[in-house]
């Protein structure tokens, strides 16, 4: 239902513009005052967060759209605008909250580093782009924001320019995202040609044919896979951990990778049953691939990355199999607890690492921090519990929603249950490694409080109050959730699986083995080589071939043309010399010859003068007499 909310329309551009301003500020403030940029950026983002909160509180019901014409192609007008629905308002608020917390955390994390101005600028830009993506009402604008989000992700992953691994990871992320963007573009083309519009509100109300839905659905699925790290486009996410940890928290846990799932949720109505089936398969495969990766890794950030992949797969499968609302619920919960996990991990790594040396990210060497950094470790454990689905956490609630909605299909239910078992397994493993006794000679630094505060807030959000006022149902939760009852037997199944997983982890990892299964089981290594053979090598060969063609044929043609031109100019020169100059010199020769001829008459000899004179007179006489005779 449409609510007359013209007054709210001013908050949206304000909320979007404030982070953008913080992006621009960086270029206005000189180098000397660079220390003010982090504070200024955080201040702007705080203001933006306030706008988002106002929107959330005031506009939590109903849908309203606002659009301005942007450009027109003939008779069609493309407009830019936003759509305020409970879902978009909630997502916007979540994005801004996590972004604000990451800003605050980064003030402490990036203190003393060079290039912080650049970092905060791009954080602001990312927030602006993500906000635009969330509230946009026109798919073209969504696509533009999609690309901008990818761009800022590239800049942020590669923030440490001096590390080649970071730049390579940033490029890889960008390129894999491009593959997904291809799907988005093709879907846009399909929609324009068949439906004639890109406005989401218009598309919702139109009927679409099944073929169109299948086509559009598959293309959008490709986009989702690229952005949200679904199989097989998932190997960029672990490598993206080369960027700063707050970036990983914001982008690769909570928001950017969630953009794909968000798009899926928004455009669920454009997917046919076949497309949804494919999406479910992709999502389920991703769940297990990610989970297996999390089990085999020893790098803390990589474990969290694979965990993100697994959870994203779960979200996609949830949207495809259960309902968009279920997937969205899990998206929100995951945003909070994964961001919390990443930020905590960053804090713990920061505590153990020494300045000047590579940061210590191996969980085998991160143990024993319980005694020195208890608060942070507790926050970590709360977030991990939410990930695993321990009751009284938001993760438990969202998993219940998912499982209960697929409760009718035994196969899907079984697969999802197995995934939650896997999740609890690797979560328990992680916690166990972390709680190992402290090795001797471990030197740790204290964690600055500015980094602890956001972590604390996030871990609070990971508890059940993040989603609803009751720990057991969503009915008193945020308005965005569909109110439905959850089957109680699902809760028992999930808790049982949780206990099973913890027990299994205890048995397997009690002694904290130093080695795990070989890394060759991790699919991303051979996925990389597959992509290389499928895409990279042919592309290189094609480019080499075109270069050859260009050099030999095109340049050859140009050379031949230039030679021909030069030869032609020689011919022209010859013609000019021989004919034109010849004509001129012929004239002069004639004149000279004539002159010489007449000059020869003036030879100073009077008798020759007389002779010629007489001849002239004679001819005159003859002519005169002839005239006279014949008159």
């Amino acid at each position: 239902m449409n609510v007359a909310t013209t007054g709210w329309n001013v908050w949206v551009p304000l909320a979007l513009a404030l982070p953008l301003v913080s992006f621009v500020i960086r270029y206005l403030i000189g180098h000397r005052y660079g220390w003010v940029v982090p504070l200024l950026a955080t201040a702007f983002l705080l203001a933006g967060w306030v706008c988002a909160t106002v929107l959330l509180v005031g506009h939590s019901h109903g849908t309203s759209t606002f659009s301005l014409p942007w450009f027109s192609m003939g008779a069609d007008v493309i407009s830019v605008g936003w759509q305020l629905s409970p879902r978009s308002v909630t997502m916007l608020w979540a994005v801004y909250t996590i972004s604000l917390l990451v800003h605050i955390y980064s003030i402490g994390y990036m203190a003393g580093e060079a290039g912080t101005a650049r970092y905060f600028a791009w954080l602001g830009f990312f927030t602006f782009a993500m906000g635009g993506l969330v509230v946009s009402s026109n798919l073209l604008v969504t696509f533009c924001c999609w690309e901008l989000v990818g761009l800022s992700s590239y800049r942020l992953i590669g923030h440490w320019r001096e590390r080649p691994a970071a730049s390579a990871a940033a490029t890889q992320a960008f390129l894999v995202n491009r593959v997904g963007d291809l799907g988005f573009l093709v879907a846009l083309m399909f929609l324009w040609s068949q439906a004639g519009t890109w406005e989401i509100s218009a598309l919702v109300s139109m009927p679409h044919s099944d073929e169109l839905k299948t086509a559009v659905g598959l293309c959008l699925l490709l986009a989702v896979a690229g952005k949200s790290a679904q199989f097989p486009l998932l190997h960029w996410l672990p490598d993206a951990m080369a960027g700063p940890t707050p970036v990983s928290a914001l982008i690769h846990a909570a928001t950017m990778v969630a953009a794909g799932v968000y798009l899926f949720v928004q455009l669920h109505f454009l997917f046919s049953a076949d497309a949804l089936a494919v999406a479910a398969v992709v999502g389920l495969v991703t769940v297990f691939v990610g989970g297996w990766g999390a089990l085999t890794q020893f790098d803390l950030k990589k474990i969290l990355a694979y965990s993100t992949i697994s959870q994203l797969g779960l979200m996609v499968a949830g949207v495809a199999l259960a309902s968009p609302e279920a997937g969205f619920t899990h998206l929100l919960a995951h945003a909070f607890f994964k961001a919390g996990l990443f930020l905590t991990a960053g804090a713990l790594i920061h505590a153990v690492s020494h300045h000047g040396r590579a940061p210590q990210q191996d969980i085998r060497h991160l143990s024993g921090l319980w005694s020195s950094h208890r608060a942070v470790v507790i926050c970590f454990m709360v977030c991990a519990a939410s990930l695993a689905g321990v009751p009284f956490t938001s993760g438990f609630l969202s998993k219940e929603v998912l499982l209960s909605q697929v409760g009718n299909h035994p196969v899907y239910f079984g697969l999802m249950a197995a995934s939650s078992l896997l999740t609890s397994l690797y979560c328990a493993r992680l916690v166990m490694y972390l709680l190992a006794p402290r090795p001797a000679g471990l030197v740790t630094h204290p964690i600055p409080p500015i980094m602890v505060l956001p972590v604390f807030v996030l871990s609070l959000g990971s508890l059940f109050i993040g989603l609803s006022r009751s720990p057991f149902s969503l009915q008193s939760g945020w308005p965005v959730f569909a109110t439905e009852t959850l089957a109680p037997w699902v809760a028992f199944v999930s808790t049982g699986l949780l206990i099973l997983g913890v027990g299994l982890a205890w048995r397997l990892y009690r002694h904290r083995p130093e080695q795990g299964p070989s890394e060759s089981w991790i699919p991303h290594t051979w996925l990389d080589s597959v992509q290389k053979h499928l895409v990279l090598t042919p592309a290189l060969r094609l480019s080499k071939a075109t270069d050859q063609v260009d050099q030999r044929w095109l340049d050859g043609i140009l050379h031949a043309a230039s030679y021909g031109y030069v030869a032609f100019s020689f011919v022209i020169g010859w013609v000019d010399r021989v004919f034109v100059d010849g004509l001129v010199s012929m004239v002069t020769t004639v004149a000279q010859g004539g002159g010489k001829l007449f000059r020869a008459l003036v030879n100073g000899k009077i008798q020759s003068y007389l002779t010629w004179g007489m001849l002239a007179l004679l001819s005159f006489m003859v002519w005169m007499l002839y005239q006279l005779a014949h008159r």
Partner: protein, 103 residues
């Protein structure tokens, strides 16, 4: 009666030979001789055609004056030839060609 036509032919002959001498000979004095021939041819014509208009003597009077002028001209001409001969040490007209085109 002497036919006028024959006299005319005679004077034409005198004229032609005079011209021939004038154009051909390589001696300045001989050129003067040719010139005299031409003048005499004119005189002959004048006197001959006076017969056709017997009431007046215009032709003969003119012939007198022609003779006078011829004398003057011969005198000056010889004087010139002598002068030129003294300067150029030659009486060959072809070699007195200082007035030709300098190229």
């Amino acid at each position: 009666m002497i036919a006028t036509h024959h006299i005319f032919v005679l004077s034409a002959l005198l004229l032609s030979v005079g011209l021939f001498v004038l154009l051909t000979k390589r001696n300045a004095i001989v050129l003067l001789m040719g010139l005299e021939l031409i003048l005499n041819a004119a005189n002959l014509n004048l006197i001959a055609f006076n017969r056709l208009y017997a009431d007046a003597l215009h032709g003969e009077t003119m012939a007198v004056f022609v003779m006078v002028i011829a004398v003057c001209e011969a005198a000056v001409g010889v004087a010139l030839v002598l002068r030129v001969y003294r300067h150029y040490a030659t009486a060959v007209p072809d070699q007195i060609n200082q007035l030709k085109d300098p190229s």
